[in-house]
Each structure stands twice: as structure tokens, then as C-alpha cells.
């Protein structure tokens, strides 16, 4: 029976993934083209950005030579095409801002970003679900009102502001958590213990900035589910409150949250961008900021592609989960 069910699912899943992969090709092409267009229109001059303070005493000859070497002249569609053909053959180019091949930049930093995002996301999901269920249980109660109003406030608060607040409270006032970095300043070794201590504050801030969405969705979903006939029936049959709440209401109440998982990915990336900058976290997001201000075309294009892939993958994941969780949904129709 179980095996039969799996076989029946495998084919539609594969077809859905295939369709999404095909659709992602024009999306990625358009997004990278857009990046090159926007960067070309940017008021920043890549040569001045590259030369930094030394550029302010450089001769015109040196600056002209730099312009030629960096290959920053020429129409942007041509440069986009060069980049694209290079990227398809596995050469992502060199980052001008970081004086490194783009592949090295990503390789060194991606892991730290994934760790931060995963920890923040897990926290948001967990805290959002627990508090959401608790709030839905007694709508209009004390907890519900507090949790809801705090959520609305947090939705409006920008993550970097939360980050600075976190540093002020935990690092300066209480002195319990480090204010930034991956390790203590005097030490190079990344041990599990010190990593956890350094991860705690940025992950918490990133997580908290995402909690409201999950919380409000779960609260609404569970509250609606509690009104459904099936749940009322379960209660009428005298099932334990715990079983009703977690087994029946939460299960159907979680359905909209699955959609949310996918659509929160872009927000998560933007949030990570700000949080990494505030906490000097050596991830990919802080490189994005640097690439953008220095009009570092190759790095910017690679990072945008990465972000786009993450968003598309997030959407795919939530669609798949939705299909798995709700038998009424046909994957063929997505």
C-alpha cells in the first residue's frame, strides 16, 4: 500500500521538478540581464571604486590603464553575453572588489550564510508554530493579544535595527553574547562552542524578524481549523484537547504555512544581507553589499543568480510539500 502510494507520487513530482527547471532558464537569463543593465546605469564608476584611496593620487594614465584592464567599458549586453557564456562553461570570472575568483568568494562564504539562514529559519518556524498554536487556542485572550501586537510591531521593524538593539542589549548591557564575528577576536580556531555563542545573536535576530509571519499564519490557520466540522466532531467524540489541537487543528492549520515557507525565502535573504553586515558575519550577503557598491559585475551577477535559484527552489519546495500534505492538490496542475 505504502509502496504503491510512493510510486503514484514519484512520477508527478519528477514532472513538476522538470517543468520548474525548464521555466527557471528564461527567469535566470532575464534576472542576470537585469543586473547588468542596472549596474551599467549605476552612478558609481568601477575604476574609482577599484582604486580606492590610492585612486585619489593616481595619475590619469594609471586610471585609464585600469579601466582598460578591468574591461568595464563597452555596452552591457555584450558584457552580459560574455559573462553568460563564461559562466556556462564553468568560469564565473573574477571579482574586482575582492581581488579573487568569484568561485572562491562563494566557496569561502556560502557555508556560513547557509548555516545562519538555516538556524534563523528553524527558529522562526519553531517559535512561530508554538506561539501561533498557543495564541489560536484562546483567541482574544491575554497571550493572543500580546503575541499579535508584538508580531505586528516586529513586522514593521527592519532587521538591522533589531540587530543593533540585540547588540546593545545582549553584548553591551548584559555582556553575555559576543557582538560580532565568527570567533573571539584573539582566537582563530572555530570551535563548536564558540561558533554557537557567536551564531546565537545573529540567528536570533534573523529568526525573530521572520517569526511574525509564521506566527500570524499558524494562528489564523489553527483558529479557522478549530471551527471546522471535523475538529468540532473530534471534540464532540470526547478526544483529548491535546489530540484535537495538535492532531487535527494544527495539521490542517499548517497547510497555508507550507506555502509561506517558499515565499519567505526572498525576505530571508534580504534579512541575512542586513544581519550579516551588522554582525560582521563572514557570509555571502556581506560580499553582496561590497559587490553592489563597487559595481563588481561578475560577483554581483553570480550572487544574484544564487539568490534567484534559492527563491525558485524555495517555491518548488513549498509546492511539493503542499502536494504531499494535502491529497486534494494535484501536482500536475502546478
Amino acid at each position: 500500500m505504502r509502496d504503491g502510494g510512493r510510486r503514484r507520487l514519484a512520477a508527478p513530482v519528477a514532472r513538476l521538478v522538470g517543468r520548474r527547471l525548464l521555466a527557471s532558464v528564461p527567469v535566470l537569463a532575464a534576472v542576470t540581464f537585469g543586473v547588468f543593465a542596472v549596474a551599467a546605469a549605476s552612478p558609481f564608476d568601477p575604476v574609482q571604486q577599484y582604486a580606492g584611496s590610492a585612486g585619489l593620487s593616481a595619475s590619469q594614465e594609471t586610471l585609464d590603464q585600469l579601466r582598460q584592464n578591468l574591461g568595464v567599458d563597452g555596452p552591457f549586453p555584450v558584457r552580459w553575453w560574455d559573462w553568460l557564456t563564461g559562466a556556462l562553461s564553468g568560469d564565473l570570472g573574477d571579482s574586482t572588489a575582492l581581488r579573487q575568483p568569484v568561485a572562491d568568494v562563494i566557496g569561502e562564504r556560502l557555508g556560513w550564510s547557509v548555516l545562519l539562514c538555516a538556524a534563523g529559519f528553524a527558529f522562526a518556524l519553531l517559535a512561530g508554530t508554538v506561539l501561533g498554536v498557543a495564541a489560536a487556542r484562546r483567541r482574544g485572550g491575554m497571550l493572543d493579544r500580546v503575541v499579535t501586537s508584538v508580531s505586528y510591531t516586529l513586522e514593521a521593524a527592519p532587521p538591522f535595527w533589531l540587530g543593533l538593539l540585540g547588540i546593545w542589549f545582549f553584548a553591551l548591557q548584559l555582556g553575555v553574547l559576543p557582538a560580532g564575528g565568527l570567533t573571539d577576536t584573539g582566537s582563530d580556531t572555530v570551535t563548536a562552542g564558540s561558533l554557537l555563542r557567536h551564531l546565537a545573536l545573529p540567528a536570533l535576530v534573523l529568526g525573530i524578524s521572520q517569526v511574525p509571519w509564521f506566527l500570524l499564519y499558524v494562528r489564523q490557520g489553527v483558529a479557522d481549523a478549530l471551527e471546522e466540522d471535523a475538529v468540532r466532531g473530534a471534540r464532540a467524540r470526547g478526544l483529548a484537547e491535546r489530540t484535537v489541537l495538535l492532531g487535527h487543528a494544527l495539521r490542517s492549520g499548517l497547510l497555508p504555512v507550507l506555502t509561506l515557507v517558499g515565499s519567505r525565502v526572498p525576505e530571508l535573504i534580504t534579512g541575512a544581507l542586513l544581519v550579516e553586515t551588522v554582525f560582521s558575519w563572514p557570509g555571502i550577503a556581506s560580499a553582496t553589499v561590497e559587490a553592489a557598491t563597487a559595481t563588481d559585475f561578475p560577483l554581483l551577477a553570480a550572487l544574484t543568480t544564487l539568490a534567484t535559484v534559492a527563491v525558485l527552489a524555495g517555491n518548488l519546495l513549498s509546492d511539493l510539500l503542499y502536494g504531499l500534505a494535502d491529497p486534494r492538490v494535484a501536482l500536475e496542475e502546478m
Binding site: 558609481f44 564608476d45 577599484y50 593616481a58 572588489a97 581581488r99 582563530d188
Partner: protein, 538 residues
């Protein structure tokens, strides 16, 4: 197992896998143990991070690079002394050939011997058109560099395009390893982040945006440093840096004067020492000759005495600085005594009256229908330049000149500078030629960011040429004295202040000093310029 459990387990598995993948992808880079408290590990906080650690792209060009050595180096009083060379260079009579004899038995940190080939490779690569080194024009005088064997001693011979007295000062430039860097792309290779040098320290780790870690080079030719571990934390925000210094996370830091002051009058101050480093770091206003207002010598001379430099030092710099009357600091060996211009508003007004600039109805002067008004730019976000620009505008207003202060990016400002003024900053302490020539010589007018005053004065040109070509110190002094006197008569810029760089450091080591520092003060500046020589207090 029910279907639901399968799904829950799958979801949990996916999350766990993602977290694990994250951890696995960041296999921790190794390194020494933690610092804290002792005297053999030093952790300092600075504001700016180097873009690269490769000398080929400009890292450490003013010396004290920690990882590398130059042929020569500066002592605490900025006098040249030999490093990778055994003595100061022999200079030919025409001043165009410099010969350095190299030190024997020096090794790079990877164990390979240092040879004349490394010197030749370093200089040739920097001058190569394909190398993206923005400071290569500093070696403009260099024509060829060759390795020569002389009586079994390795020597390097530099031939110049023209006689250039200051050339030896350029050879503090760090020498890269040809064996390592020569096999890579100079602009993007791993030498930029994993350098190999002959210097007193070896880079153990560089996490960009966070910190650079160094450990002592046990085989350093100058003797193994007592400070075994040196960490430079990059902390852009002044307040965060001050906080981390207070919390004990840092042993020392560069701080703005107002934040450093807090340490002088507190209990914490007893264990800390404040260093106020003298610098060549000046701020000035360019007065382009093409603008009908700033192009009038009378206006320039009036502005020169209308500004209250002492007030700027007191209010903007909290006393940590000095009035500037030219690029050369007033307490330096090259300053021409007697070229100071004291604040004298009455005289400024008199100069303007005499030149025909009469006060208009709104208090702003006019001449032949022209209003005495011009725009002054500064780089947006640079608080120090903004403060100087605003103080300048307020002083000018008292003399009846209207200065409109505006902020902008480099890209916005540069095209406007033929006509508009800019609040600029610069300063290279090693030789007077380094500041005077690019700023004041007419051949440098509008060349990149050089001579933005479009300043053209025949006497100044002649004396600057004489100063850079002559090898006789007394002759050079005479030339630079004359140039500064001519600048006093015809001020193409209004020089405002020289800025001290202020550092606070735990008072645990003896005999610490600071050098005269340049405008760009990175890892090589501060009391830790010679951290390799530090000895703990008993």
C-alpha cells in the same frame, strides 16, 4: 509508520541535513590559541581593511607591512635604514642609477631563499601595464631594474628616467616572492589573500570584514619577535571599536580624539596609554584658477588669512592637530619657518577692498557685476571634511565671500573640479616631493586627482624641479623654502589643518613610539608600526 510520520520525519531530515551541510562546508581554518591578558599576543582594532595583501597591487607600499620587507625601511624618526639591502644604496653622480647590495641568507616564510630575482620581479610586475596597481605612478621615475652579481654579492640596479632625489624613499616597498606570486594571475591570484613574504610576521588567517591574524615568523632574519601573535580586527564604527576596547576584547585601537579623551580622565585610563601621532595628513580647499572668483589671486590671499585655523584645530579636531600652511607639517624638517599666515580678518577685508571686491547689499562682495561666490564639494559621508568645509564657509562669509558647501560622490565631484572647489586630504611624510609635486606642479594639472587647484606658478615649478633633481640636502632645503615662500604669495589652495591620529593602547610594553604618519593609515601606522620590536614591561 504512518504517512504523516513519514512526512514529519522527512521535513526534520531536510532541515537537519541543511544545517549539517552548512557546518560541513565551513571546515574551520586552524590557528593558534586565544590571546587575552598576556603580553605575547596583541589584538588591535582599526577602521579600514586592506583590499589586498599583495605588494604587487599596492599593499604596504609605505612600509611596516608586517608580512614583507622592503629593500629599505624607516626608523621611528622616519630616517631610512637598510632592511633587505645591507646598506643604503650607492647613487651615481648623475643621480640616475641606484645600486642596492642584498642581504644574504634571508628566506621567505615558505623556506625558499630571497634573491635579486624577487626584487626585479616585484618592481617589473608593478610597472607592467596589465597589473591593476593604482599607485604605480609613484614609481614613475623608474626606467629599468636589473639583477647583477658583483664580487659574489647579489645586487640590484635601478636606472631612472630622470635624476630623482626621493627615489630611495620609494624602496621601502615590500618585496614579493617570485616563486609563489609569479605562478599566478597577479590581479586575482591567491597571493592577494595568502601572501608569502620575508617579514617578521606570517599571515595565519584573514576573514574579510572581520580580522587579520598574524603569528611571529620564527626564522625572521631580524630576530624572532617577542609578540608571538598579532591580530588586527576590522571595526568600522568608532563607537563599537571604543566599546570593544573597553570590554577588553582589544588591547589597542585607533579612536577619534573625543572618544580617546574618555580614557585620559578615568580609572581605566591608568592601565591605558594614549598616543597622539604626528602626521603629514592635511586637509585643504582647492581653489581652481579657471573659476573667475577663486582664480583671482586677491580672493585666494584673502581666504588664506580669513580662515581661523586655530579655531578649526580646537573645535573640529579637539586639539589633536595643527594649523597647516602647505602640505608640509609645521613641525617637520622641511617646513619653511616664517611662512605661517596668522588669522587676520581685517587684512582679508583690506586685500579684497583693494582688489575691487566691494561689499554688496547682502553682505557678499561684488566686482564688475560678479558675485564673490563659489561651490565647495566634499565626499558624502566624510564627517571630518564636512566639518572643515562648513567652518571654512563660515569664515569666508565673515570676509564677504559666499561659499556653498555641497556633498557628492567621487563620480559626481570629479568632472566639476575645473570650476568648483573641493575639500581634499592627502599627505606622504617620507619626502617633500611626494606631496608638493603632484599638488602644486603645473605638469600635474588635472591629471587624475592631482593638482586640482589647476595651480600654475613659475617660481614654484622651478623650485620643485630643482628640489626633486638635486642630491644635495642643503640645496633641496633651499629649493623647498623658496617654493613655500612663493606659495605664501600665491596660495593656490587654502591649507587648513594637519590631523593627529590618536591611538589608545594597554600600557604593558616599553619604549613604544609612533612615526610621522601618512594620510592613509592602515595596519602599518599606529604605535604597532614596529610590533616586532615590542618588549613587555617588567
Amino acid at each position: 509508520m504512518s504517512a504523516r510520520r513519514v512526512r514529519t520525519a522527512t521535513a526534520a531530515g531536510v532541515t537537519a541535513a541543511a544545517v549539517l551541510a552548512g557546518v560541513a562546508a565551513c571546515s574551520a581554518p586552524g590557528g593558534g590559541g586565544g590571546g587575552g591578558g598576556g603580553t605575547d599576543a596583541v589584538t588591535v582594532g582599526v577602521a579600514q581593511e586592506p583590499e589586498t595583501l599583495s605588494p604587487l597591487l599596492g599593499y604596504g607600499k609605505e612600509g611596516n607591512s608586517k608580512i614583507f620587507d622592503g629593500l629599505l625601511t624607516h626608523d621611528a624618526r622616519m630616517k631610512l635604514k637598510p632592511a633587505l639591502a645591507t646598506k643604503l644604496p650607492e647613487v651615481s653622480d648623475d643621480g640616475k642609477t641606484y645600486t642596492f647590495t642584498l642581504r644574504d641568507g634571508v628566506k621567505f616564510s615558505d623556506g625558499k631563499p630571497f634573491t635579486a630575482e624577487d626584487v626585479v620581479y616585484t618592481y617589473r610586475t608593478i610597472l607592467d601595464k596589465k597589473t591593476n596597481n593604482a599607485s604605480k605612478s609613484e614609481l614613475d621615475a623608474l626606467d629599468t631594474v636589473k639583477a647583477k652579481d658583483r664580487h659574489g654579492k647579489e645586487t640590484v640596479v635601478f636606472t631612472l628616467k630622470y635624476p630623482y632625489a626621493a627615489f630611495a624613499e620609494r624602496t621601502v616597498l615590500p618585496i614579493a616572492s617570485k616563486a609563489v606570486a609569479g605562478r599566478q594571475d597577479v590581479n586575482t591570484g591567491s597571493y592577494n589573500t595568502k601572501p608569502v613574504g620575508t617579514g617578521p610576521y606570517v599571515l595565519t588567517n584573514w576573514r574579510k570584514g572581520e580580522k587579520l591574524s598574524f603569528k611571529a615568523n620564527p626564522h625572521y632574519w631580524g630576530g624572532r619577535p617577542t609578540v608571538k601573535k598579532f591580530t588586527v580586527a576590522i571595526i568600522e564604527d568608532d563607537d563599537v571599536r571604543a566599546t570593544r576596547l573597553r570590554s577588553g576584547d582589544l588591547d589597542g585601537a585607533i579612536l577619534p580624539p573625543n572618544l580617546a579623551k574618555a580614557y585620559k580622565n578615568s580609572d581605566e585610563g591608568a592601565e591605558k596609554r594614549t598616543f597622539s601621532a604626528k602626521t603629514a595628513d592635511y586637509r585643504a580647499v582647492t581653489l581652481p584658477t579657471d573659476n573667475p572668483v577663486t582664480g583671482d589671486k586677491a580672493v585666494r590671499r584673502a581666504l588664506d588669512v580669513a580662515v581661523d585655523r586655530d579655531a578649526m584645530v580646537k573645535s573640529i579636531l579637539n586639539g589633536a592637530g595643527k594649523p597647516a600652511y602647505g602640505p608640509l607639517p609645521t613641525d617637520g624638517p622641511w617646513f619653511a619657518k616664517g611662512t605661517e599666515r596668522p588669522h587676520d580678518l581685517a587684512r582679508a577685508k583690506k586685500i579684497l577692498d583693494k582688489a575691487g571686491w566691494k561689499p554688496g547689499e547682502d553682505g557678499i562682495r561684488k566686482k564688475d557685476g560678479k558675485r564673490a561666490s563659489f561651490t565647495l564639494w566634499y565626499f558624502s559621508g566624510d564627517k571630518l571634511r564636512q566639518d572643515h568645509a562648513l567652518a571654512y564657509a563660515s569664515d569666508a562669509k565673515k570676509a564677504g565671500i559666499d561659499v556653498k558647501v555641497q556633498a557628492g560622490s567621487r563620480e559626481v565631484i570629479r568632472p566639476k573640479l575645473k570650476h568648483d572647489a573641493m575639500l581634499m586630504g592627502n599627505g606622504f611624510p617620507a619626502d617633500p616631493d611626494f606631496d608638493l609635486y603632484p599638488t602644486l606642479h603645473s605638469s600635474q594639472i588635472g591629471d587624475g586627482w592631482n593638482n586640482l587647484g589647476y595651480y600654475d606658478d613659475k617660481t614654484v615649478d622651478e623650485q620643485l624641479d630643482k628640489g626633486r633633481r638635486s642630491r644635495d640636502t642643503a640645496e633641496r632645503h633651499a629649493a623647498y623654502d623658496k617654493a613655500q615662500k612663493a606659495l605664501k604669495k600665491n596660495p593656490g589652495y587654502t591649507f587648513l589643518t594637519h590631523i593627529d591620529h590618536v591611538y589608545v593602547l594597554n600600557d604593558k610594553w616599553r619604549g613604544l613610539t609612533t612615526q610621522v604618519e601618512p594620510h592613509d593609515h592602515g595596519i602599518g601606522a599606529g604605535p604597532w608600526w614596529n610590533v616586532q620590536d615590542w618588549k613587555p614591561k617588567k
